[in-house]
């Protein structure tokens, strides 16, 4: 079999992006549309082809491999990383989702962004994102995945702040970027740790070296735990989980197709994907999987409750996404200790189904806003079913799917997660230490098993109920009841069209009619995409019907089994239906409550409740003030530190002392030395002559100046004197000595050695004179010696 052109999948969108970015402005809108949609469609076709190859003609390695180029990508010492790609069963599915949904959203965007002046830029970024996401998914080693990981982060930033003339959008983009960096840091550290312990970063090789991660113990825990937790930090950043979820709701500042593609269907699932990809690491450290599940469950419920009180359509969907990602985390974090497997399949399954219905919801919301000239406040909508039938029906289908209504896709995937988590059990070592653990732990043979699943299950169930409630609150507020927005007269509309032409050109809205309807249905490019996604949201779930319900129909699980082992819980069909019934009942209650309260517009009961518990309402409406808490705990201290560093270190030390100090020194020295270099030639000559004279003088007199220095050696009454002077050149000097310090010098001699014997003991002052006969200069040294 010829090598499969795997590298084409990410490269095709990149080519589209490159052309669009470089020469896009000259090509015209139609060419751009064709180019960008076409390249993603081509990537989709290649992905399908790869999928089919995997299906029919599975290579012995279990994956298709490819690489961007043959030469090593990073080579340093023992480190040798190739720019390799691999498509196994897991990445094949992700590839299909990314390219498939990506293509649909590209098509949708052609209508949604039609009037945007930066149409080309938008599609270029969208293509860039698709390519990056495909690298992330197809990377055969952590660094390659990381390239995609950072690439999608960048595109997310670029697209959140797409309408960069508004500060709020740019700030939202920056927030997303910064928060994601925190997660990326965890990812990087995990990568370093893995490499330092195993010496490889390739997934296939890593799986074989996993015992090295378990063997090393740090602080009483295998290194695998730290790796797992660090990967989790990265995943919480990218997949918007507690505590790093805060960027996702703000990311809704971007155009709606971006929210649908990046912030709902694909990029935010990268965290789930990476956890599944590194499943062997997590299996070596099962308690980290418990952490994954707990983080997921708390996020699921937390975000779902926030979603209840939001008024902005996209904000509701954003919190819904956070919540659903929490479900996926619970899925991949659900661990069964006796079979040593986790419920990855359910997590990935939910990822796929969620991609369909959440994309459909977001695009539906986009369609609504498109039809309402950018109105996003659900309190000002209502009754839209009359004017937007396609949007309404697809939105309803997606709502039913996300609420988990039988037999739509959400039902199957959410049930797989809920059913799994009930059976979950995570190994723990050592006896419980506090009462909470004693409650949660049950003795099972010699090992303690956390029955955390029994706690997580109701949490998730509650989150599912909230999901059903807020989704149908959203649905009825938007499409049910009567229109509550501002009345639209044809004059006002005409005025709006003429007046706000620029603004809605910039926001991608479209006005067709001058009729009296406050809203209008979107063009076919939008509605057709909505219907495709809605049908997907209905049928995609049938690929994952559990074995116990209908043997042989779990295509999805069967497909993933070579990569991700299935969770083997001994669940019977009756148990499955019991869980399903409970989940359905909870969803039904949620929907029913939503109908009672919002079926015909906001009911009086809602207003009464808000009036009676204003604090609770405000708490939830303001998202539990998490942003404010982070602002207080993180942003302000960092800003304050930065301020201090700026003032004390940068402004004072660097700028004043170092930079200005050097300048001051130089200029000061210059000010002084300018008197030397005054341009007066004759002064220079004076300096030259004086300097020359000094040098000659010192050079010729140095000998004799230093020549009289002497040493004495006393032995009894004998005293020896050696005048060592200035070394070898002292040869031509003459010496004489005064032994008593009385001014009577002995004979002058060329040798510096003298000897004298004193008659009587006591102190004697010795003076030595060195004479240079050439100039007649003399130097004198004296010293006192004691003799016995």
């Amino acid at each position: 079999m010829a090598e499969f052109p795997l590298h084409l999948i990410p490269i095709l969108p990149f080519i589209g992006a490159a052309i669009a970015l470089l020469i896009g402005r000259r090509l015209g809108k139609n060419v751009i549309t064709l180019l960008c949609c076409g390249s993603v469609a081509a990537a989709f076709i290649v992905s399908v082809k790869g999928f089919l190859v995997l299906h029919h003609d599975l290579p012995p390695t279990g994956a298709l491999v490819g690489r961007f180029f043959e030469a090593p990508w990073i080579k340093a010492g023992d480190l040798n990383i190739s720019a390799g790609l691999a498509m196994d069963h897991l990445s094949a599915i992700l590839c299909l989702v990314v390219t498939g949904i990506g293509f649909l959203i590209h098509v949708y965007s052609t209508a949604y962004m039609e009037h945007d002046e930066n149409y080309t830029r938008f599609f270029a970024f969208l293509n860039l994102f698709t390519g990056s996401m495909l690298i992330l998914v197809l990377g055969d080693s952590l660094p390659v995945t990381f390239v995609g990981w950072e690439g999608v982060g960048l595109c997310s930033y670029l697209l959140i702040g797409f309408w960069l003339d508004k500060d709020a959008n740019a700030l939202a983009g920056r927030k997303a970027f910064v928060v994601n960096r925190i997660g990326d840091f965890g990812f990087l550290l995990a990568m370093f740790l893995i490499y330092s312990r195993t010496g490889t970063l390739k997934y296939t090789e890593l799986a074989g070296h996993i015992d090295q991660l378990s063997a090393h113990i740090w602080f009483g825990l295998p290194v695998a735990y730290f790796v797992g937790l660090l990967v989790l930090v990265g995943a919480t950043g990218k997949s918007a989980q507690i505590p790093l979820y805060i960027w996702l709701p703000d990311a809704m500042a971007g155009p709606t197709p971006v929210s649908a593609l990046i912030h709902a269907a694909t990029m935010v699932t990268a965290g789930v994907y990476v956890v599944a990809r590194l499943h062997f690491v997590f299996e070596a450290a099962p308690v980290t999987l418990a952490v994954v599940a707990v983080v997921g469950a708390i996020t699921a419920l937390f975000a779902a409750t926030i979603g209840i009180a939001q008024r902005d359509m996209k904000k509701v969907l954003a919190y819904s996404t956070v919540s659903q990602l929490g479900f996926m985390f619970v899925g991949v974090g659900t661990y069964l200790n006796n079979t040593h497997t986790a419920n990855y399949q359910a997590g990935i399954f939910h990822l796929v189904t969620h991609a369909f219905f959440k994309a459909c919801l977001f695009l539906g919301a986009g369609s609504v806003m498109h039809g309402l000239n950018g109105e996003g406040d659900i309190m000002r909508m209502g009754g839209l079913r009359k004017w937007m039938p396609h949007t309404r029906w697809t939105f309803l289908i997606a709502c039913l799917a996300i609420a988990g209504i039988f037999p739509l896709s959400g039902f199957w995937s959410k049930d797989a997660i809920l059913g799994g988590v009930w059976h979950a059990s995570w190994l723990t070592s050592g006896p419980p230490t506090n009462f909470l653990e004693k409650m949660a732990f049950a003795k099972d043979g010699d090992q303690f098993v956390i029955h955390l699943g029994h706690f997580l299950y109701p949490v998730l169930l509650l989150a599912a109920g909230c999901t059903a409630f807020y989704m149908f609150r959203l649905y009825w507020l938007a499409f049910g009841g009567e229109y509550r927005g501002p009345a639209v007269s044809s004059a006002a509309l005409a005025h709006a069209v003429g007046d706000a032409h620029d603004t809605h050109a910039a926001h991608g809205h479209d006005d067709h009619g001058h009729d009296h309807a406050p809203a209008h249905e979107s063009p076919p490019a939008i509605t057709v995409v909505l219907w495709i996604l809605a049908i997907g949201a209905i049928v995609i779930g049938f690929l994952g019907i559990p074995e116990v319900v209908r043997p042989g129909f779990d295509y999805f699980g069967e497909w993933l089994s070579p990569v991700l082992p299935p969770l083997v819980a001994d669940e019977s069909a009756s148990e499955f239906w019991m869980f399903a019934a409970i989940a359905l009942a909870v969803s039904g209650i949620g929907i029913g409550l939503a109908w009672v309260l919002y079926g015909h517009g906001p009911a009086v009961a809602v207003r009464n409740f808000v009036a009676r518990a204003p604090r609770l309402y405000r708490l939830v409406f303001n998202k539990y003030y998490v942003d404010e808490i982070y602002d207080f705990l993180v942003v302000r201290p960092v800003r304050f530190t930065a301020f201090l560093l700026w003032k004390a270190f940068d402004a004072f030390f660097i700028d004043l002392i170092l930079v200005n100090g050097v300048g001051f020194l130089v200029s000061g020295f210059g000010k002084l030395s300018k008197y030397l270099q005054n341009g007066d030639l004759q002064r220079y000559i004076v300096a030259l002559i004086v300097g020359g004279a000094v040098i000659v003088g010192v050079g010729t007199h140095y000998d004799v100046w230093a020549g009289a220095k002497f040493e004495t050696a006393v032995a009894g009454r004998d005293v020896r004197v050696v005048a060592h002077g200035a070394g070898t050149t002292a040869k031509r000097l003459q010496y004489r000595v005064d032994w008593e310090g009385d001014g009577k010098f002995g004979a002058t001699q060329p040798s510096p050695n003298f000897k004298h014997t004193y008659d009587k003991p006591g102190s004697h002052k010795i003076a030595v004179e060195a004479i240079d006969p050439r100039w007649g200069t003399v130097s004198r040294e004296s010293r006192t010696v004691k003799v016995q």
């Binding site: 005054n678 341009g679 007066d680 030639l681 004759q682 000559i685 004076v686 002559i689």
Partner: protein
């Protein structure tokens, strides 16, 4: 034979006179003449030693100095003429444009 120190003392006097001329006078022409004096003082020293030590090398060196002095005088005078044409003065105190 005249002792060497006579020559050396004469040379020293010539050199000091030349130096003072260079240092004290503001007329560039006189400064050039001072330089000539200094050079000739050096020449005298060279020739004197040459004779005292019976070594002709120093005399050869004196010729080189004479040649260099001639060249220096030619170039220096040419510059002076050029300056005088432009500025109507060869007073070195006024020739300060390089300073600014």
């Amino acid at each position: 034979m005249i002792p060497i120190h006579w020559f050396l003392e004469l040379a020293a006097v010539l050199f000091v006179v030349g130096s003072l001329g260079v240092i004290l006078r503001r007329n560039a022409l006189i400064m050039l003449m001072g330089i000539e004096l200094q050079l000739n003082a050096a020449n005298l020293t060279l020739v004197a030693f040459s004779r005292a030590y019976h070594d002709a090398h120093a005399q050869a060196f004196a010729f080189i100095v004479i040649a260099v002095a001639a060249a220096e005088a030619a170039v220096g005078l040419a510059i002076l003429v050029g300056i005088f044409r432009n500025r109507r003065s060869v007073n070195v105190d006024e020739l300060t444009i390089m300073k600014h």
